[in-house]
């Protein structure tokens, strides 16, 4: 196995996983461990937490917690702002859906995603958004009769 010097990120992962495992173990005990003859609801999550905690220690010791050597995903120029903007679009899309309804928001969200991904001009993204929104409404809302959030439109 190739040994990679553990970076800061790798340590963060180890601590995160270990902490999660420990938290799971403690809260499982509170849920009720039961006895082996009458196992309680906390027994299984406790074991999950235990595996997680132990493996995260192994991960630290082995030193391969996370090599980022080849991964440049978020290092591209402008990557981080784009990433954040997309996340914001997704969150707003869902957050506002019960209020403004499915159709209007899908139109806006499709438009926003297309623009964030650097679509040129406005005509093409607008057409894309309209077609996407229309088709998805036709398919899911009308033909499959799924009750999608309609918002204040009714």
């Amino acid at each position: 196995m190739r040994r990679v010097a553990a970076s800061t990120g790798a340590w963060v992962w180890c601590i995160l996983l270990f902490g999660l495992g420990l938290t799971i173990m403690i809260s499982s005990l509170q849920i009720g461990f039961g006895r082996f003859t009458k196992p309680g609801p906390g027994l299984f999550p406790f074991i999950c937490g235990l595996i997680l905690a132990v493996q995260s220690i192994v991960l630290c010791l082995a030193g391969d917690a996370g090599s980022v050597k080849n991964d440049e995903t978020l290092r591209h120029p402008g990557a981080a702002p784009k990433f954040l903007a997309l996340m914001a679009v997704l969150v707003l899309w869902i957050l506002a859906m019960p209020l403004f309804g499915w159709v209007a928001l899908t139109f806006l969200a499709t438009l926003a995603i297309a623009k964030i991904m650097a679509a040129e001009g406005w005509v093409k993204p607008l057409i894309l958004a309209a077609v996407n929104c229309g088709f998805s409404y036709l398919l899911f809302g009308y033909l499959l009769a799924i009750d999608l959030p309609t918002g204040f439109w009714g």
Binding site: M1, G9, A10, L17, G21, S27, I31, G32, R35, F36, T37, K38, P39, G40, P41, G42, L43, F44, P45, C48, G49, I51, L52, Q55, S56, V58, L59, A62, D64, A65, G66, V68, D71, T73, L74, H76, A79, F83, L86, M87, L90, I94, M97, P98, A109, T110, I113, A114, I116, M117, A118, L128, N132, C133, S136, L144, I146, D147, L148, P149
Partner: protein
């Protein structure tokens, strides 16, 4: 005598009406299989009242068509846009999507279609010959056997993807824990729900899988600058597999077919188990295991064959025991009952013609699906060549809607987005996500079998040693570890020399 019965089954079939039923079913199945969120279960329940007003054979043929068709369609989105539409297609994302990225999407889909066809046919022959014999085998699977099976799965899974088994098992444990959130299946106690109503429902597989694979792919694609593919225009030849790919697929299809059939007999999420056991097997026997996860054709075709074969195989417990072990077969059972056909140990005595019509429906459905799917490959493969700026907004809409309509619940959509964001970080730090998803699916089964075994044996696990099937499975797990350790030891020694 048996062949007479089968010919009678085919004879029943050879009317325009029934072939039409099969065609409609297969087409519907393929379409809903392609759309994530709409599974065979929902579609079949929607169609049930509709088939009730038709004659029994028509209804059964159509429902079968839907079920088998959805298995074909399921892998399409996995390969093309990295979204597993159903649990059994998770493994197909690993290598299938990588193939599509290399421009071999069409080849991948064509191979899957042919592989599925072969595997399906093998399993039907198996069903036809062995169904009466193997039916009761499913009953010998009690909690201890399931527990042993889960141990085996744990060991196979940590080896599923990525380079580090430790990371794999971390993710698997995380998946198992996620599955424990919500109201427990055995005792109705709410766990880790923090008083949130929606968390009491538990975390579903679909939003997590669509998030980890699909949404994180969208996020990453959006961020990375677009590089136009070298091949602007796809030639017809490029849509279909080349000689080498076909040669490399033969073994995995054969192994996947047989493996899937037997795993299909096991009650529970058989198709999921079949896919990753097949993946682990292919990775082990492959001449170039390092290609796995980077677009190895074996890693796609093997599991997909196993999936279809397991789907057919899982019909055996339904037909011979009358007990549905998964949701789609529960609906199929309802359909059969609605037409006064009672599957069960007495099916062969009371209504053999139903069994044989069913077998004939499977055969013909499989052929129909092959001819339906091969031309579709050409159409679907072009999806992979659409520029991301157009494709990604559409795909994210489909993800969102698909996840929403699986339970009509916005909470699931939140889970999907959270999983998508987490997925980006998992991917950057090279944590494999497939074990997490599979852990989430197998979690309830692992927990239930563990607790039921403890209850059954009054708090001890030792009596498992008296149960031959459980012992055999545990020995297989041990053998896997030994082989792996020896393999590493040998390689290290060779490296040292």
């Amino acid at each position: 005598m048996e062949f007479d019965a089968l010919f009678n089954g085919f004879a029943t079939f050879l009317s325009v009406k029934y072939i039409l039923a099969c065609l409609i079913g297969a087409l519907l199945g393929t379409v809903i299989g392609v759309l994530p969120g709409l599974g065979p279960t929902t579609t079949m329940s929607l169609m049930l009242p509709f088939t009730a007003s038709l004659d029994a054979t028509f209804g059964i043929i159509m429902l079968t068509g839907i079920l088998v068709g959805s298995q074909y369609g399921g892998s399409t989105t996995s390969v093309l846009v990295n979204i597993p539409g159903e649990a059994a297609s998770v493994v197909s994302c690993l290598d299938g999507y990588q193939m599509a990225k290399k421009g071999r999407g069409g080849a991948a889909l064509a191979l899957v279609a042919v592989g599925s066809f072969i595997a399906g046919t093998v399993a039907i022959v198996g069903t036809q010959v062995f169904a009466p014999l193997l039916g009761s085998a499913a009953l010998s699977f009690g909690p201890p056997e399931f527990l042993a099976l889960m141990v085996l799965c744990f060991i196979l899974l940590s080896n599923l993807s990525g380079d580090s088994p430790v990371k794999g098992s971390c993710m698997f444990a995380l998946g198992l824990w996620l599955s424990a959130i919500g109201v427990g299946p055995l005792d109705g106690v709410a766990r880790f729900s923090f008083g949130v109503d929606d968390l009491m429902l538990g975390i579903e597989f679909l939003p997590v899988a669509v998030g980890l694979f699909g949404i994180s792919e969208i996020l990453i694609t959006a961020v990375v600058p677009y590089v136009p593919p070298v091949l602007e225009k796809i030639r017809f030849r490029d849509l279909y597999p080349n000689g080498e790919e076909v040669r490399r697929s033969a073994g995995p299809v054969a192994r996947g077919s047989i493996l899937g059939f037997f795993v299909g007999l096991v009650p529970g999420p058989a198709t999921v188990i079949a896919t990753f056991v097949s993946y682990a097997l292919e990775k082990r026997v492959a001449r170039r295991p390092e290609e796995f996860g980077r677009g190895a054709v074996e890693g796609l075709v093997g599991p997909e064959s196993a999936n279809n074969s397991a789907c057919v195989g899982s019909m055996i417990p339904l037909l011979t025991l009358g007990i549905p072990f998964n949701a789609p077969s529960a609906v199929l059972l309802a359909g059969l009952l609605m037409h006064n056909v009672e599957p069960g140990p007495l099916l062969f005595q009371n209504a053999p013609q139903v069994f044989w019509t069913y077998i004939a429906a499977l055969y013909i459905g499989n052929v129909v699906l092959l001819f339906l799917n091969l031309p579709l490959v050409g159409i679907f493969a072009r999806v992979a060549t659409i520029r991301p700026v157009i494709l990604m907004p559409v795909v994210s809409t489909i993800c969102l809607l698909g996840v929403y309509c699986s339970r009509n619940n916005l909470f699931d959509v939140w889970v999907m987005v959270a999983a998508g964001i987490a997925g980006v970080f998992f991917r950057i730090w090279r944590y494999p996500v497939a074990p997490l998803v599979v852990g989430l699916i197998l979690g309830p089964m692992a927990e239930n079998s563990f607790r039921k075994t403890l209850l059954m044996f009054h708090g001890s696990l030792m009596p498992m040693a008296e149960r031959p099937i459980a012992v055999a499975i545990l020995l297989a797990a041990a053998a896997f570890i030994v082989v792996k350790v020896v393999y590493y030891a040998l390689r290290r020694r060779r490296a040292a020399v």
